[in-house]
């Protein structure tokens, strides 16, 4: 709904005359939410917040440890630091950090873009940037295209039908290494979302919550190279079940999970929302646990593209990057979440009942066991592509035999998860290189140290190697 047209035009044959929202000026609740969020995104306050959020995200990628960042700034001074970092971000093509954060629309190599997405809440920033006009604001004409499954996303990226896409974050690693497809270098620009997944079980297992008793269960995950697969394997293996022998794990596209659960084809799934919540809504399943309880802050989906695209279209990529980060900044604020649910629920995007999406995003939800739970950080949209996340994924790919032999974890992580070649370039420029872009994580109580990845991947009782 454009702003310069009158709110009502009962004599226009091309516009529906509906007064579906509270204020009566928009055709539907969703349009009303779009207008409200747009207005919020246009305030100076949000602009400042968003710009500094983007800059802070970039700085944090370079300096995961705050002490190092401070030392660096003290050593070279604020101005030099900004110029130096700006000259190397991202992949050494942008004029300055300010240009990266605020940007001008000049010099875009390609304006008409196609971006693929799977209709799940993980893709929230990517999707909402379209109706909220964040892409337009960067001078881009983006078409976000709903896609039937992850294999198709992979094929369409390899075919170059899509310019950029919503990925499962391990997919670009696998594609770059040539696991499960041709080796084509891909990049993760940002993580789309953190947490936000769950293990859903069929109602008949309400009294069978201990994974030790799950022998013979059939589970679904969205794709082999997914955090869902790795986390489910990790979880059952911690309880002494071998995920390859004691249970069956099938690949089922997320939208088909609820239908399969209802039909009794599967006992449960570790899947993306809204399909966990949808199973509760349909009263066919319950939320056994949120993945947040396995690894708080784990990455899930990513926004990425091919290395070739970035090299050929650096300015376009930077503009896309800004749009998606801006959306992420908006999605992180709790007060925006109910409105975002209205924006992304309609048929063109998730095609789900709004209450289901709202329960996922606000974290106030029915758990399928008769309780209303309140977990505000059930889903979050932290965009930082930590390399240690990539290293963890690689250790799990190794653990379950998806990649054979030794893996040069850091080399692949740094090649795929962006913003680290900056480190190399800084070294070449004679600047002090920040140490440790690899924060540690704790997964189900077990510490993961990316510096000891090889030992970690061999430290499990149940593994394929």
């Amino acid at each position: 709904m454009s702003a310069d047209r009158p709110p009502f035009d009962p004599y226009d044959a091309d516009r529906p005359l509906r007064m579906g929202c509270g204020c009566g000026r928009h055709g539907s609740d969703a349009e009303h939410a779009v207008a409200t969020l747009r207005a919020r995104s246009e305030t100076a306050e949000f602009e400042t917040y968003s710009n500094s959020f983007v800059e802070a995200s970039l700085m944090k990628a370079l300096f995961p440890q705050d002490a190092v960042r401070r030392n660096f700034l003290r050593a070279v001074g604020r101005r030099t630091a900004m110029a130096a970092i700006g000259s190397v971000l991202p992949v050494g093509t942008l004029a300055s950090l300010q240009a990266m954060a605020q940007g001008s629309t000049g010099g875009l190599e390609k304006k008409d873009l196609k971006i693929g997405f799977i209709p799940i809440t993980c893709a929230t920033p990517l999707i909402m940037a379209k109706p909220l006009g964040f892409y337009e604001k960067q001078g881009l004409n983006v078409e976000v295209v709903k896609t039937a499954g992850w294999a198709l996303i992979r094929d369409k990226m390899l075919n170059k039908e899509y310019d950029a896409t919503h990925f499962l974050s391990p997919m670009p690693l696998a594609m770059t290494m040539g696991a499960g497809s041709n080796a084509v270098p891909m990049n993760v620009a940002t993580i789309q979302n953190t947490n936000g997944q769950a293990i859903t079980l069929a109602n008949k297992h309400k009294d069978n919550r201990d994974p030790k008793n799950w022998k013979g269960f059939k589970f679904a995950v969205p794709f082999e190279f997914s955090m869902h697969n790795f986390l489910l394997r990790y979880y059952v293996a911690e309880s002494g079940l071998d995920p390859d022998r004691d249970i069956q794990i099938r690949v089922v596209p997320p939208p088909e999970m609820v239908a399969n659960l209802r039909a009794g084809n599967i006992d449960g799934y570790l899947g993306p929302d809204p399909f966990n919540q949808r199973a509760v809504f349909e009263e066919v399943g319950f939320l056994h646990l949120l993945t947040k309880d396995l690894w708080d802050g784990h990455p899930c989906c990513a926004f990425g593209t091919s290395t070739e695209f970035i090299k050929a279209n650096p300015n376009t990529f930077a503009a896309l990057y800004r749009a998606v980060l801006q959306a992420a900044a908006m999605a992180r604020k709790a007060e925006n979440r109910p409105l975002i649910a209205k924006v992304i629920s309609p048929q063109a995007y998730l095609n789900q009942p709004e209450t289901v999406v709202a329960q996922v995003l606000t974290g106030k939800f029915a758990d399928g066991l008769g309780k209303v739970q309140n977990v505000p950080d059930r889903a979050d949209f932290d965009p930082m592509p930590w390399q240690s996340m990539a290293v963890w994924m690689l250790t799990q790919m190794q653990r379950w035999g998806y990649v054979k032999g030794d893996v040069n974890y850091k080399q692949i992580a740094e090649q795929v998860f962006l913003l680290t070649d900056a480190k190399k370039l800084m070294k070449e420029m004679g600047m002090p290189v920040p140490a440790g872009a690899y924060p540690k994580f704790t997964i189900m109580g077990k510490a993961f140290d990316p510096e000891k990845a090889a030992a970690y991947s061999k430290s499990f009782a149940i593994q394929r190697t």
Binding site: V144, P255, E256, A259, F365
Partner: protein, 290 residues
Amino acid sequence: MTKTLGFRAGLLSLLLLLLILGVWHVATLSGPAAAPVLNMTPEEIEYAKLLGKNPTGEGGGAVKSGFPGLAEMAAVTLQHLSQPFYDNGPNDKGVGIQLGHSLGRVALGFVLAALVAIPLGFVIGMSPLMYRALDPFIQVLKPISPLAWMPLALYTIKDSHISGIFVIFICSIWPMLLNTAFGVASVRREWLNVAKTLEVSPLRKAFEVILPAAAPTILTGMRISMGIAWLVIVAAEMLVGGTGIGYFVWNEWNNLSLPNVIFAIVLIGVVGMLLDLMFARLQKAVTYVD
């Protein structure tokens, strides 16, 4: 007599339809009302609301994805038919546009298949050598499910739209090819001999003797092929997505929206029937009596 037979058959069809609708209506009658709200705690009421129920009974309840009743079905049908051509961006188009995309794909794949199958069928039908040489390939390729081609097509063609058309092409080629070959091979000896005695040129023989003689068989093949193509397009579009009536079904399946799925099923059936009728007409036009 035939008129009254047609009338009686129509009447019986109508009765059957009413019977089906009646059974549907009775089967989807909603059960007894939900438990009274009186003995629910506020928390239970909130929980029920999150499940999309309406325990307090104010206003209409949220739509759940049960099997739809007739009234709901009628509302959905009316809504789609009143706005068949709306276009809200790439992921939300009216059902008429979706149907158009599907028909376009089928037509393109089918025409391409006909362009290959009919000349090739002529060659095979006229030359026993070619028939024997190509037979093993045809026999192996014919029974392959068209959708099994999809991964290979996506990988080699590198374009999902063309892959969809390729799948239509590859599945509708075989009935046409075999029927053409059969029709051409079984043209009456005498007619060919007459052509030979009159020293007709091979091209003229093909177009003026063999083609009219084999036309009914060829059209039967085309009719079968069209049926298969229409069967396949729905499955292919569910796999590839983007546009088309198959994508529409997939998208509504995501939302577990049975009324929309049922509407699409009926629509697919009706369009399939119309396509078949079209070929039946053509077939009648070229049929001859010996």
